[in-house]
Symmetry: C2
Subunit: 431 residues, 2 copies
């Protein structure tokens, strides 16, 4: 057989003979001709088998090939304007690698739990394939965005002796003779990093023992966390909106085909332009109350609150100036009104909820110590972190973007479980 070509590259071989290697997606028969919809993980291609063009053994494969059987196909690349990809293969020969057993996932509908049990096979389907290619694009765009802006990648550790986001959702593990916790955020470590590198980001898995079974939660997800020396809360918001706009733009530009497979309404994504509206927590509360919701000042927003607040905006919005009591100890107090901290949440449109949480960090050692004391945190445990305010403290800010929520929003997915190759939830640890 001639040299192996990836299906996505056959447009470069018009009228040439190529070999494709991959799997049977579907077969349609019609007398002296049959069609094999072939996939190799890079593209779906129609292959035409004519009785007069192949041996009788090859022609009779129409009766033995099953869905997902593996094979090598030799044939000539032809233009096929009516096919989505624009090209098809006129088959000359087929070599079967394996006739697949009866494939559990047919091209019909299946229940979500069945599909998740078969995630190792479900990944082959068109829609899952498209979602994860968009995920790849978002990751690539994120890294390029920060690499191009003088950030250094400083990955935070997975094993930590302390918790940054409270202790109720921590995964604990035996670490030789000690206890260790799996990281819930790289932020505290990034704050050390910027004192050496100016601007850093970390991008790795994050673990939260979330007991909630909502469609927004995973126990294991990926987060990208930039941290910047000499940035205040406004600089932070400028960067966050520019970053999110850039991601959307890159996906629109490079993943048209995948968005089409997902039937995503891209007009909604094209409306993601700068600037994003910035409202204070108090203003957000007012929107809720004006719309007749019974919301108590000082509470955090729930999913229905977020949906209501964002409803009248086309772009994500940023809610800043939060009541200090609702937020973590490391956030900087507003110098004009210390009831508030300089925190910011970015809420995606279309009901996708919070995708970014960030803040200016407290750089004053006395204020930081008093917060640690008040929240009964161990000063000894945080001693290294407090050091950052002893040796050349500077104003600084940062935020974290939840990857899977962002993927879900951009793909227009109903459930975050499809935004990660191998979802882990309270009830799911397999495969």
């Amino acid at each position: 057989m001639v040299k192996h070509t990836l299906a996505k590259n056959i447009d470069k071989h018009l009228n040439e003979t190529v070999t494709l290697k991959g799997w049977v997606y579907n077969i349609r028969k019609s007398g002296k001709i049959w069609f094999l919809i072939f996939r190799d993980g890079t593209e779906f291609i129609q292959c035409v088998i004519l009785k007069d063009e192949v041996s009788s053994e090859v022609f009779d494969l129409k009766n033995t090939l099953t869905q997902e059987s593996s094979l090598a196909i030799e044939g000539v690349v032809q233009k096929a304007p009516r096919q989505k990809f624009g090209y098809e293969i006129l088959v000359k020969n087929i070599k079967v690698m394996q006739i697949a057993e009866e494939y559990p996932i047919s091209l019909k509908e299946h229940g979500i739990e069945f599909l998740l049990d078969n995630r190792h096979l479900w990944l082959r389907s068109k829609k899952q394939n498209a979602i994860l290619r968009i995920r790849h694009e978002i990751i690539k765009a994120s890294r390029n965005f920060f690499d191009d802006r003088d950030f250094t990648l400083i990955d935070s550790p997975m094993f930590t002796p302390n918790a940054s986001e409270g202790t109720t959702t921590l995964f604990k593990t035996k670490y030789f003779d000690q206890d260790a916790y799996l990281t819930q955020s790289g932020q505290l470590y990034s704050e050390a990093g910027i004192m050496g590198f100016n601007k850093t980001y970390c991008f790795g898995p994050i673990f939260r023992a979330e007991k909630s079974k909502t469609r927004r939660h995973l126990t294991e997800f990926w987060m990208i966390e930039p941290e910047m020396a000499f940035y205040d809360i406004n600089d932070n918001m400028d960067l966050a909106e520019e970053f999110v706009r850039y991601i959307v733009e890159q996906v629109l530009k490079n993943r048209k085909k995948e968005l089409e497979i997902l039937e995503r309404d891209t007009s909604k994504l094209e409306k993601i332009t700068l600037p994003f509206p910035r409202i204070t927590y108090d203003e957000a509360v007012k929107i809720l109350q004006d719309n007749g919701r019974d919301f108590k000042w000082g509470d955090d927003f729930g999913a229905p609150d977020e949906t209501l607040i964002t409803k009248k905006f086309d772009t994500p919005i940023m809610i800043h100036h939060w009541p200090a009591e609702t937020k973590a100890f490391y956030m900087k107090r507003d110098e004009n009104d210390d009831k508030f901290v300089l925190g910011v949440d970015m809420i995606a449109p279309e009901g996708y909820g919070e995708i970014i949480g960030g803040s200016q960090r407290e750089e004053d050692i006395d204020l930081l110590l008093s917060r640690i004391k008040k929240e009964n945190l161990s000063e000894e445990m945080y001693n290294w972190y407090i050091d950052l305010r002893r040796y050349g403290s500077v104003p600084h800010s940062g935020f974290g973007l939840g990857l899977e929520r962002t993927v879900s929003w951009i793909c227009g997915n109903q459930h975050i479980r499809e935004a990660i190759p191998w979802p882990r939830t309270i009830t799911r640890l397999k495969p």
Copy 2:
């Protein structure tokens, strides 16, 4: 003060007034002039303070500024051919943000344990800074290499119900009502991924409860693992050597300054050209025996063995065709002699040891099942993995490159602990 500029960018502002924000690295005094070596995490710059050019308050800062004090400096960018960076700042004004307490890490020598206890501060030092910038470059090069070659990033899960590399070095964690294990390799998951995407890679943290305190081991490290459908062991070795050469080339091209800070002998890196020598396990054993080592056929190579085998080569070498008993159950048997498997290890030069482990995978379901049975693994646990041989099995291969060992080798580091921002070893979980 005028607009904030990063130190690395001042060459674009010759003879202009700029504001730099950062930290005091060192101070030298000399009568009516003093010099402040300033760093902001992007560059080290000499700032010149002349008695006649600044207020007396600013001039007198020479007596109060301490190492790592944070400040903003306003001054004019001048050429300074004798300075490493080629530019210096003639200071007009200094605003102090914080006078640092006495900094624990002086510019003199410290013990390694002290430095690791103060990793959050040690990151600021020149050498650590250079190593981690090279790490960033290697990560970026790795991702670009695979992105440019039609690979899709399909990250594997961190929580797994089963183990791929044996059970003695697994970290176990409570996962709600179940037990979970932290991943030791993404490979088995990647094998599912390629059936949907053709070529994939995963790149994330890996956990091994290594009890060995050698300078090559971490409990938490990062691994990049490409996996390719329709690749045999030779294709696999072709890709591996091209990949490693590419990384070295990118670092040589883009990180000259950092290699210079580390005093790396770059002539050694410039010798990393293709092809890398490929020898069989048997040939490697013969090298050992010819050199008078008492080595038993069937054993794995230890660090001194690896150093001896690689000694006469300038590039990494690949050792392939391993005795089946020494290697994991998923490796494909050599069809000509089933005493051997089609596994490959790549050993770095200069005594840096194994940086890549890979193989062609067993695609035959009966052979795979017999290996699983023979090794007393749970067939039920691996059922999803065996599925990949039921539904369109294809020849395939892959490998994993250990990031920190590669960083150590390219940097010429003595110890792998410096190749990761926050090292974790059997005795170290902090900071």
